[in-house]
Symmetry: C2
DNA sequence: CTATATTTAGAACAAATGTACTAATTTGTG
DNA sequence: CACAAATTAGTACATTTGTTCTAAATATAG
């Protein structure tokens, strides 16, 4: 493991445990077993480290998107993608736990994240159109409901982590599957009977693939 | 306005604007036009101020609950209550924007908030039971969906503020009504036809009362 | 091997911060 | 008015932090 990788790994652990606002270059250097002078040679300050970790996360998620992407959209593939994305997000959870502070301090990340969500919005609208075309989803409940649903998906998709960190009371191993269910449960009431059937089949197949 | 009130007011403005992690007793004292020595006489540190502001918020919301509470549950009253609570939450938005940092730093607030959400959970389950008894809401979609819905309501109910702060792109005046719609849209797909009708009437009445 | 570039450790310094303390001022009360 | 309690301003100091700098150590290329 290179020095830079070591720094990022230790910083990630500290950020997740203590929060970006209290972790300093000296803390990270101590955890990584090096002088803080050396650490500042590689990364001038903690913001640069946060930026690198954010890039790592986006890289991981993009990798998974290209790995899972198949010609012809499949509900099962979509489920796997969401599961992988949520795992990655949880490994870098400090980014969303300290969301406001990071967005304020590091404008580059703020701009990137806003762009990311705009792109996600486009993909989601395509997904909705496909599901309706295939007769799997009901038409829009009222004018503007799709927009509301999109916002719900963004909020739950980003901030389930804060809920998981402070309010979840179940088994640790069930945590991520539970919040994946919470997220998909946003769509379930909007499925047609046919969509409901297909969703059940996909859920069973994913359960089989786990065991 | 007493000195303590002045301190709390200035601290609230600074916290909302800059975040709790960068605002110090000296900043607050300067904004309030007093020495930081004096400020520390009233509140030993910023955490004590945050705690007081949290208590203020809970106080405001409880006031509104008792003010709106009427014998026999009314959907209109519930809508007003949600609107008022969201307004109060938005005035104290730093509490939820810096959620993780505050929960970590101030265990008393963490415990209070966890207790608050447990209580909210009980009220919500009663609400669901009432709505189903009155034939306004469909039965549970699948075993465990009520639990998922409750988690969705908690996440959106707390973290719509972060979304509103960084991602909302509409008119500022429409911000709170928009997110109130997003929140209620979690329940709309679960209403029966009768519930749908009553919800429409309530929405019209609230629109009339606004003008 | 040797020279050059890279990496590392540690010192140094200014600025900011939390906290405690003192003395002056104001307020309230008999 | 007198006097005690409270409020307020300002000072002082140890600690932490970001940042820069120097010199030593290590690695790399010719």
């Amino acid at each position: 493991m290179s020095t830079k990788e070591k720094i990022l790994a230790e910083a990630l652990a500290l950020f997740n445990e203590r929060g970006t606002d209290v972790v300093t270059v000296r803390h990270i250097a101590q955890a990584a077993g090096m002088s803080h002078g050396n650490l500042c040679y590689h990364y001038p300050n903690t913001d640069a480290i946060v930026q690198s970790l954010y890039n790592q996360l986006v890289g991981h998620i993009n990798e998974q998107i290209t790995a899972v992407a198949t010609p012809g959209f499949e509900l099962i593939a979509a489920g796997q993608l969401v599961a992988h994305a949520m795992e990655a997000l949880y490994r870098y959870r400090f980014l969303l736990l300290d969301f406001a502070g990071i967005m304020r301090r590091i404008p580059a990340i703020r701009d990137q994240h806003q762009a990311l969500l705009k792109q996600r919005g486009l993909v989601f609208r395509q997904l909705l159109a496909y599901l309706r075309e295939a007769g799997l989803m009901k038409p829009e409940l009222y004018a503007g409901h799709d927009e509301h649903l999109l916002t719900q998906l963004f909020i739950v998709g980003d901030f389930w982590i804060a809920s998981a960190e402070w309010l979840y009371e179940g088994e640790a191993a069930d945590k991520l599957p539970y919040y994946q269910q919470v997220l998909t449960a946003l769509l379930v009431p909007l499925l047609t009977e046919q969509g409901w059937k297909q969703w059940h089949e996909a859920a069973e197949q994913s359960r089989e693939s786990q065991t």
